[in-house]
Symmetry: C2
Subunit: 246 residues, 2 copies
């Protein structure tokens, strides 16, 4: 194969890998892939479009940050019908905090898709959250508001927004369950195993047994998180009994 053919082949292979990876993260087929490429381009790459627009993720970050704030506001407004303005504002700050967005970006392994001229281990921790915001902006531009809402629901609200926990009523579902099992004189056991599969980062799966029944499963990038996810699911299955026993 000649030199140019090799370059073109490797480029289209890279493009295909990018498409497959981005589709996995999004949960739907992107329409205009170039927007997503921009969302993963660091400003150390100095490209500009013909009209002078910088081809990196910084502008998309501005857009995504705004959409994230308003979509979380809408969700909280609906989920906490008696919460005051101040209370809703405070809840939102917790969800869209820098640390929280960094955690989300890390869990999605976004950094592995970034194009940059700077070595990736030189990036600070905020790169994870920044690229996540840019990705939210890209989804809005590519597919509109409803898709953007769905994407935020899948990546932020479902896995991380837990009103009981945010309200400080429950800080660990695992400890609530352990305590309840002690009272009920049941055996509780977490069966953890490595389960990375096709992911780029290490993952763990957990089965939560009470006596001999599996009552919750979880999968995440750390054992602790996977256990907490399984515990939360078990908690909501058993909620009526747990609340009765309190």
């Amino acid at each position: 194969m000649n030199f140019i053919k090799k370059i073109l082949k490797s480029r289209s292979e890279n493009g295909e890998i990018f498409l497959i990876e981005i589709q996995k993260i999004l949960g739907f087929k992107p329409h205009d892939l170039s927007i997503y490429k921009k969302a993963f381009t660091h400003s150390s790459i100095k490209k500009k479009s013909a009209s002078g627009q910088p081809l990196n993720y910084e502008r998309l970050e501005f857009l995504g940050d705004a959409l994230l704030s308003s979509i979380i506001a809408i969700d909280l407004f609906k989920k906490i019908p008696t919460g005051s303005e101040g209370y809703l504002t405070q809840m939102r700050s917790k969800i869209v905090s820098r640390e929280h967005l960094n955690e989300i970006g890390k869990d999605l392994s976004l950094i592995s898709l970034i194009s940059s001229k700077v070595p990736k281990n030189n990036f600070g921790d905020n790169i994870h959250g920044n690229v996540f915001e840019a990705l939210v902006g890209a989804v809005y531009l590519d597919k509109g508001f409803v898709y953007c809402e769905k994407f935020i629901n899948k990546t932020v609200i479902e896995p991380y927004v837990d009103i009981e926990r945010l309200e400080g009523k429950i800080t660990s579902y695992k400890s609530v369950l352990i305590e309840w099992c002690q009272k009920q004189k049941c055996q509780i056991r977490y069966d953890v195993y490595e389960d990375t599969g096709n992911d780029r980062t290490k993952h763990f799966s957990v089965r939560l047994y009470i006596d001999d029944d599996v009552v919750g499963k979880g999968r995440a990038t750390s054992k602790k998180k996977a256990e907490e996810i399984a515990s939360k699911r078990a908690y909501y299955k058993l909620q009526d009994q747990i609340e009765l026993s309190e």
Copy 2:
């Protein structure tokens, strides 16, 4: 007419007036009027819904503020394709500043529709902007994101968001026009007259003549604003000639 009938009649008349006024402000027919009533209910009215939800505008204000920020962000992102993240953030702050939102609320005469147990002259200046934000939240809840975008376009973006002015290139269209007319040796004249019509607050209309032609019209709550609106319209009509002469 007996006592109860009188009360009911006056209530339904009030309801009709509210519907007419709100429809004038919105530019479309509301679906669920009760949401808009809440947007105009001050917290001094201590009503709650059956589920314990306070029936005043404070929660809607939280929702509207979030939507306003993101819709303005989307607009700026599209209108200023080469603006950096920092620049877009700065532009947005100018548009959604407290003073600016108060001005918009005042121009729409929103205060006249507020239900309150406190006398209206006891309200501070921020009531205008707060109720405007609540109204944005109400439009979103009642009609969804696209209508909310349209409403913000009509009330904020079209009349107030002027990139040239925000960027500090032009601070007064009137003075640009006067200067240009001096250069061109044309006569410029503003013909101002009171034109309140059916509005609740005083309004003025202006016709801007250059020599004997009307080149712009404007209507607003002050003479100065109406002149500036007419000047801006004239500016955009004559933009090519004005820029050539610079």
